[in-house]
């Protein structure tokens, strides 16, 4: 493990986290990417931008959300003291809105008049459609047809909010194909369109920008834990698809050596079954280049991208944010995994023990908490990012449990 003075200084000016990241996009997009980067840098330096964002996060999103002591779960597991960071209590029910508020303010600042986004489970699509309604901007959401079929409630939500949901039939009709299609739209409509990417991936500056907008999660945990326990947490756990909730929780703590961090990938039907049966890019993939950045990817020997599998539509992306790839390689963050079944078990345990129905994505993080907590002392403070609520998942969970709704 490389010991660095700081893990928080990345990316470099070219968007690299070690060998990961970068700007692998078509020339048509390159001038625009540079414009987004410049506008973002200026916005960050402008107190008015920060002020408006804080105001919206407070009044509209409902931040800060609680750092909640999960007492019954702690008792049942009999080890570490477990806290939930309640991102599922945000307006729209997930952490995704934190980033959408930031990006739409940037889009407005840049004078863009049309918004596009990709979505997998639909949480980012709903969050984007929501901020577009709030700021009265036309909005097109690209969503794979497979995902549309399994996430009907979110599709309807987006439509109610005034968004146009375009079904993506290319490839296998999931998140990566939706992202391809959004990039194709963007190349065609560069002049007026802003692309709100939902995860901490894509070409620079997106991974850094999404991380910064999501870092409110970790910043709040830091001050809330100080207030509740008078010290730093001992470990942080979050699910990782692209990895935006995880990087938002982790980043403010990267330079606190006492804080352990665990990202939890989706192991689907089992990593040992091969890359078509899971969505664990770090644990079961290798570095490559897709969607504008170098990162760990699910791919075959010839560099063709494979379709991952997870019970959770929000985790079955064949890549991961480049900063996670780097944090893995330098050894600062541990990347574990949970199977579909482990997530389903955690989902049900959380509902019964705490009266909280978590998103299937967050249930992957919880599955890791369930594995670790019993082995740890009672004064170990463990924080799980409860990134989203599970209402959207009840249909697919019912199906897996053999219940007819």
């Amino acid at each position: 493990m490389t010991k660095l003075n700081t893990y928080r200084s990345g990316p470099d000016e070219r968007g690299h986290f070690g060998i990961f990241g970068g700007r692998f996009v078509a020339e048509t997009l390159m001038p625009l990417i540079l414009e987004v980067e410049k506008a973002y840098r200026e916005a960050r330096a402008d107190p008015a931008f920060e002020g408006e964002m804080r105001q919206q996060l407070k009044q509209y999103v409902g931040r800060p959300n609680p750092l909640y002591y999960a007492e019954r779960l702690t008792e049942q597991l009999g080890g570490a003291k477990i806290y939930f960071k309640r991102e599922e209590l945000n307006h729209t029910g997930a952490h995704k809105i934190n980033n959408c508020i930031g990006q739409i303010l940037l889009a407005r600042r840049m004078g863009k008049t049309r918004i596009i986004a990709e979505t997998g489970a639909g949480q980012h699509g709903v969050a984007t459609a929501t901020v577009c309604a709030l700021y009265d901007m036309p909005c097109v959401i690209y969503m794979g047809e497979t995902d549309i079929a399994r996430q009907q409630p979110n599709v309807f939500r987006m439509k109610l909010l005034g968004a146009e949901v375009r079904a993506v039939t290319s490839g296998s009709g999931t998140l990566k194909d939706a992202m391809n299609e959004a990039l194709r739209d963007w190349v065609t409509n560069v002049a007026d369109t802003f692309y709100i990417i939902g995860t901490a991936a894509g070409p620079h500056p997106y991974p850094a920008m999404v991380r910064d907008f999501q870092s409110v999660i970790g910043d709040e945990v830091r001050s809330q834990m100080q207030e509740l326990e008078g010290r730093l947490p001992d470990s942080l756990v979050a699910c990782v698809g692209g990895g935006s909730n995880a990087i938002g929780l982790f980043h403010p703590f990267l330079d606190d050596p006492s804080v352990q961090m665990v990202g939890v990938e989706a192991a689907g039907r089992g990593i040992e079954k091969g890359p078509l049966d899971h969505a664990a890019s770090i644990n079961g993939g290798r570095p490559g280049v897709l969607h504008g950045n170098r990162t760990y990817l699910l791919q075959d020997e010839d560099g063709q991208i494979l379709e991952g599998h997870s019970i959770s539509a929000g985790l079955d992306y064949p890549g991961i944010g480049p900063e996670h790839s780097w944090l893995h390689d330098v050894g600062r963050v541990e990347y574990a995994y949970a199977t579909d079944q482990e997530a389903l078990d955690a989902f049900q345990l959380c509902a019964r023990a705490e009266g909280i129905i978590p998103a299937l994505e967050s249930a992957h993080g919880l599955a890791e908490v369930i594995k670790r907590a019993p082995k740890l002392p009672k004064d170990h403070l463990m924080v799980l990012c409860l990134s989203g609520r599970g209402d959207k998942d009840i249909f697919s969970v019912a199906k897996h449990l053999g219940v007819e709704l």
Binding site: R14, G22, R23, F24, V25, A26, E27, T28, L29, M30, P31, L32, S170, G171, K176, D177, N180, L183, R184, V187, T188, N189, V190, A191, G288, V289, L290, H291, G292, R294, L297, Q299, E301, D302, G303, Q304, I305
Partner: protein
């Protein structure tokens, strides 16, 4: 300062010199390697020079072609389904070179399959197979050390895309390290969709010529012999891709079987495009 070709002695430079001597523009044809299967694709490739193609772009199929429209997306998936790989694409070039020592071949695609192959071994094998140049859509000048600079060192041209969004400030960076020719993407968009106006193309070519002495090829949205002829009036070459790929796809029946005569039909269409290009300045 204008950019010049750092690989002035290659097939690409020789072909453009010959075209200049003939006083006409060239036709650049694109097909996806392995579409709809390796044997048919090889037959089309081998027939392209006689049909009138002056330069050949051979697409390396990729699962996620972000800059391509439906026609080339579908052709890539057909090729991959038929078992196409980077290695087999290079074999196709090798097969072609046994028959044709002069027509330049430019491989076009996305970076990840090359990354997976290993950039250095890919360049060695590509050059050995008879590849003259590369167009890699997702490698802008900002990522030049990934492949562009190693390619130039290995004696393989790296053809850069310029677009309507490439402004004056950016142009020198885009032109630096470009070799073979400059590919002007005439629309902000994906392949096989909208077409640019003749006026817009005239102005863009004139602008590029102020920045480079390299030949300028224009592509994206050229579908007919007439459109190819219009472009050939002002540019050094016209690139046609999606229209050829669509013609090939038209020969597939519902079960994916190729109807007899399809290869001849595709090459016939290339002949019409070539005739358009050849008469443009007549």
């Amino acid at each position: 300062m204008k950019s010049v070709d750092v690989l002035a002695d290659g097939r690409i430079a020789r072909r453009f010199e010959a075209l200049k001597a003939e006083g006409r523009a060239g036709l650049v044809t694109f097909i996806t390697a392995g579409d709809p299967d390796p044997a048919v694709s090889q037959a089309v490739l081998n027939g392209l020079p006689a049909a009138g193609a002056d330069l050949i772009e051979l697409g390396m199929p990729f699962t996620d072609p972000m800059a391509d429209g439906p026609a080339i997306q579908a052709s890539s998936l057909r090729a991959l389904k038929a078992g196409m790989t980077v290695r087999r694409t290079l074999e196709m070039v090798r097969g072609f070179r046994e028959l044709d020592a002069d027509t330049p071949i430019i491989l076009m695609g996305y970076f990840n399959p090359i990354h997976a192959y290993g950039a250095e071994s890919f360049l060695t094998d590509a050059r050995e197979a008879g590849v003259d140049g590369l167009i890699v859509v997702d490698l802008p000048p900002e990522e030049d050390e990934e492949l562009c600079i190693p390619a130039l060192k290995a004696g393989v041209s790296f053809v850069r895309l310029t677009t309507p969004t490439t402004d004056e400030a950016r142009m020198p960076a885009v032109m630096r390290n470009t070799s073979g020719f400059v590919y002007y993407v005439s629309i902000a968009g994906i392949t096989g969709t909208a077409s640019a106006s003749n006026t817009a193309i005239d102005q863009a070519v004139a602008r590029l010529k102020r920045h480079t002495d390299l030949p300028v090829a224009v592509g994206f949205g050229i579908k007919t012999p007439d459109q190819a002829a219009e472009v050939a009036r002002v540019a050094d070459a016209a690139v046609v891709g999606s229209a050829i790929v669509t013609r090939l796809a038209g020969g597939l029946d519902a079960s994916g079987t190729l109807k007899p005569g399809t290869v001849e039909d595709v090459l016939g269409f290339v002949g019409e495009l070539a005739a358009g290009v050849r008469t443009a300045r007549g």
